[in-house]
Amino acid sequence: MDESPRPPSDQSPPPPPPAQSHTGSPTDFLKGVVGKRVIVRLTSGVDYKGVLSCLDGFMNIALEQTEEHVNGVITNRYGDSFIRGNNVLYISAAEEI
């Protein structure tokens, strides 16, 4: 008789929206990954591997020691590069952060 299901909480107000500062948020990830080696994959499938200098709210990215990889083959190298954020599919850590 004590096994009754939890009462529905329809009387209580809805919970507040997600907390802004839970660890693991995109902002926290980006703080941890600046200065580290990353893989940036574009929606086209092209990868850019390099050291993340910085980025902004549009996901525009500045990379150092950039290698362009197409189908696993290096197709270009750039000392520095600016990648426009709308093309970015993901940013993945390529070393421990």
Binding site: P15, G24, P26, V33, Y90
Partner: protein
């Protein structure tokens, strides 16, 4: 009566769990959800990327990864991904 729970509250409850992310293109990701923001940019850990091509499904393992929300179509909470369903 308005819905009791906002869509992103549901996703917030999935933090720390497996999640399946389906992009607008023929691309999917699974991994452990670490966090997200109001744009539904998503941080995953222990990630597998699935890319469906005419040659078949290509899988890529990734470490911690930030997915750009603008390319995300759907999220499936608690799923291990395409190989699970």
């Amino acid at each position: 009566m308005a819905s009791q729970i906002l869509p992103l509250e549901l996703i917030d409850r999935c933090i720390g769990s497996k999640i399946w992310v389906i992009m607008k293109s023929e691309r999917e990701f699974t991994g452990t959800l670490l966090g997200f923001d109001d744009y539904v940019n998503i941080v995953l850990e222990d990630v597998t990327e699935f890319e469906t091509t005419p040659q078949g499904v290509k899988k890529t393992a990734l470490a911690q990864t930030l997915l750009n929300g603008s390319n995300i179509a759907m999220l499936v909470p608690g799923s291990n991904g395409p190989e699970d369903s």
